[in-house]
C-alpha cells in the first residue's frame, strides 16, 4: 500500500511540474494584455473599446524565408526591428538555403523571400509562383584557400582560371553541395571552366557556409565563400586567405520576392508588399550600406534597388 502511494506521488509530482511549466505559457507574450490593461482603467467606458484596442495592438505575422547568409551575418537582426516596430508586424525569419526558400514560396509556406539565386528566381517568377520581384543589394564571393596555396591561384584575375588551376593540381576543394545560392554560383563557374569536378580532391559537404569554411580550414583546402560569412569566421581565427576576388562573375545579387497569394489563403501579400517597399526605400538602402562598415573597414552588402540607383 505504501509503495502504491509513493508511486502516485511521484507520477503526480512529475505531471504537475510539467503542467506548471505549461501553465506559465502566457507570460511569454504579455505585451498585448499588459498594454490593454490601462485602457480598461476607466470602468465607465464599455469594455468593447479595450477589446478592439488589443486587436489593433496585436502585431500581424509575416514569414520571411531567406538564405542563411542574411541571418548569419547579422544583417536581419540589424534591419528588421525597425520594420517590425514601424508597421507593427512580427517578421518570422526562416533562414534556409535559397533552394529551400524558393520551395517554401512554391508551397505557399512563406509570404516573402529574400534570396540570392538570380536564375532560379527568374524561373520562379516565370512560373507564376511570385507576383513581384525587386533588386535589393549585392555582395560578392571570394575564393579562399590555405596560405601555402598548392594550386598557385593567388593573384589570378578570374574565378574560371582559379578553378582550372585547382582542378589541374587536384588540390582539395570543399563544396557546399546543398543547392544553395553559393553552390549554384560554384557550379556555374565549373561549367564556364568546362570542367566536371569529380575525384578525391572534390569534397561535397552538404552543409552551410560556416561549416564549409571550417571544414576547408581543417582540410587545408579551397572553397568559394560569400564575403560576409568569411569575414565573420576570420574574426574567429580562420586561417584561410582570400586568393581571388573582384571578378564580375563573383558578384552575388540579392532579390526580394512577394509570393503569389493564390498559393494559400493564409499568405499576407499586403505585408509582403509593405516589406518590399520598405527594404528598397532610400533610408533602408543607406542603412544596408553602412552595416558593419566601421567594424570591418568595408561594406558587407551594397545597396542596389531601382530607387537607390535612380537617386545616385
Amino acid at each position: 500500500m505504501f509503495q502504491k502511494m509513493s508511486f502516485y506521488k511521484i507520477l503526480v509530482a512529475l505531471i504537475l511540474s510539467m503542467l506548471l511549466v505549461a501553465a506559465c505559457a502566457p507570460t511569454a507574450t504579455p505585451t498585448a494584455e499588459s498594454v490593454a490593461v490601462p485602457t480598461q482603467a476607466p470602468p465607465t467606458k464599455a469594455p468593447k473599446l479595450a477589446f478592439t484596442n488589443t486587436e489593433i495592438q496585436q502585431p500581424q505575422e509575416m514569414i520571411l524565408a531567406t538564405t542563411s547568409s542574411t541571418q548569419d551575418s547579422g544583417l536581419l537582426d540589424y534591419l528588421l526591428p525597425d520594420f517590425d516596430k514601424e508597421f507593427n508586424i512580427k517578421t518570422k525569419v526562416i533562414a534556409v538555403g535559397s533552394g529551400q526558400a524558393l520551395q517554401m514560396g512554391k508551397d505557399g509556406d512563406a509570404d516573402v523571400l529574400l534570396i540570392h539565386s538570380p536564375a532560379a528566381e527568374k524561373e520562379f517568377m516565370d512560373a507564376g509562383d511570385g507576383v513581384r520581384r525587386e533588386d535589393v543589394m549585392y555582395n560578392d564571393f571570394v575564393i579562399v584557400g590555405p596560405a601555402e596555396d598548392p594550386a598557385k591561384i593567388t593573384g589570378l584575375k578570374t574565378s574560371v582560371d582559379a578553378f582550372k588551376a585547382i582542378a589541374e593540381s587536384e588540390s582539395k576543394f570543399v563544396s557546399r553541395g546543398d543547392d544553395s545560392g553559393t553552390h549554384v554560383k560554384e557550379k556555374n563557374i565549373w561549367k564556364k571552366a568546362e570542367l566536371e569536378p569529380v575525384g578525391d580532391w572534390y569534397v561535397s559537404a552538404g552543409q552551410n557556409m560556416g561549416a564549409v569554411l571550417t571544414m576547408a580550414d581543417e582540410l587545408q583546402g579551397y572553397t568559394l565563400s560569400d564575403r560576409a560569412t568569411y569575414l565573420a569566421f576570420l574574426q574567429q581565427g580562420l586561417s584561410l586567405k582570400i586568393m581571388v576576388e573582384g571578378d564580375s562573375s563573383l558578384l552575388n545579387p540579392y532579390g526580394v520576392i512577394a509570393v503569389n497569394p493564390a498559393k494559400s489563403p493564409k499568405i499576407r501579400n499586403d505585408l509582403a508588399n509593405q516589406f518590399i517597399d520598405w527594404i528598397i526605400s532610400i533610408p533602408v538602402q543607406e542603412k544596408i550600406q553602412v552595416f558593419k562598415k566601421e567594424e570591418l573597414g568595408q561594406s558587407l552588402f551594397y545597396p542596389s534597388s531601382k530607387l537607390w540607383q535612380e537617386a545616385k
Binding site: 542563411s68 548569419d72 547579422g74 533562414a95 508551397d107 505557399g108 560556416g210 560569412t229
Partner: protein, 235 residues
C-alpha cells in the same frame, strides 16, 4: 583549447548573469519538450501497459512496430511533419484551424510527441513485462477488476516507467533535426537550445555555442540526477 576555455567561461557567464535571451530559450525548450512529454505519457503509458499485459493475435507484430518506432530518425519525423503541415501538404491545405501551422510551437510539439511516444510505449511495455506474473494472479484472487490489476502492475513497474519518461524527455530535448525543420528556428518564438547552438556555430560565435551546449548538458544532468534521487526514495 583556448576556444573551449573561452566557451566554458562564456557559458558560465551567461548562466549566472541571467541573460534574458538565454533564459527565454531555456524556458521555451523546457516548455515544448515538457508538454510533448506529458502528451506522450498520456498516450504511451496506457498503450505500453496494454501491450505488455494483454495477449492477443498480432501482438508480436505490434511490438515490432513499436520497436521500430523507438528508432525513428528524428530528421525523418521532421520531414514527414513538415510535408503534412505545409500549406500545400495533406493536412495543411485543408485549412482547418485546429491543425498546427508550420513554424509554430504546436508543430514542434507534434513532431516531438511522434518521436517520444514510441520510446515511452516501448520502455513501459518492457517494464510491465518484467513484473512477476504471480502478482497478477494474487491480485485477481483478491477480487480485483482488470483495471485494478493493471494499476497494481504499473505500480510495481514504476521505476521502469520513470526511466521511460526520462528516456523520452532526453530524446526530444536534445533533438535538433526535427525542431529545426518544423519550427524554423525563429528568434523569440521557436528557437530552442539545440537550434540556437546550430545557429551560433554557423555564425562563427563558437563561444556562445559552447556556452549553450553547456546549459543543455547541465539540464540533462539535473533531470537525471533528480530521477536517481526519486529512484533512491522509491527503493
Amino acid at each position: 583549447m583556448q576556444q573551449l576555455l573561452d566557451g566554458i567561461l562564456e557559458g558560465l557567464r551567461l548562466l549566472f548573469t541571467g541573460d534574458a535571451v538565454l533564459w527565454e530559450i531555456i524556458y521555451l525548450s523546457g516548455r515544448i519538450s515538457g508538454i510533448a512529454l506529458v502528451i506522450s505519457a498520456v498516450l504511451g503509458i496506457p498503450f505500453g501497459a496494454f501491450l505488455g499485459l494483454a495477449r492477443f493475435r498480432g501482438r508480436r507484430l505490434v511490438q515490432a512496430i513499436v520497436y521500430t518506432g523507438m528508432g525513428l530518425p528524428p530528421v525523418v519525423v521532421g520531414l514527414a511533419v513538415y510535408l503534412l503541415l505545409s500549406r500545400s501538404g495533406i493536412l495543411g491545405h485543408l485549412n482547418w484551424s485546429w491543425i498546427p501551422q508550420l513554424f509554430t510551437v504546436p508543430a514542434m510539439i507534434v513532431a516531438q510527441v511522434i518521436i517520444a511516444t514510441p520510446l515511452v510505449v516501448g520502455y513501459t511495455m518492457a517494464a510491465v513485462s518484467e513484473v512477476n506474473p504471480d502478482l497478477r494472479i494474487q491480485v485477481r484472487s483478491l477480487g480485483a477488476t482488470p483495471l485494478q490489476i493493471t494499476l497494481a502492475v504499473l505500480c510495481e513497474a514504476r521505476l521502469g516507467i520513470i526511466v521511460a519518461l526520462v528516456g523520452g524527455l532526453g530524446s526530444i530535448i536534445s533533438e535538433v533535426g526535427a525542431v529545426m525543420m518544423v519550427g524554423g528556428n525563429i528568434e523569440g518564438s521557436t528557437r530552442v537550445l539545440t537550434t540556437a547552438i546550430m545557429l551560433e556555430t554557423r555564425r562563427g560565435n563558437l563561444d556562445l555555442a559552447i556556452g549553450l551546449g553547456m546549459v543543455l548538458l547541465l539540464l540533462a544532468f539535473l533531470i537525471n540526477f533528480g530521477v536517481t534521487q526519486l529512484q533512491g526514495k522509491g527503493n
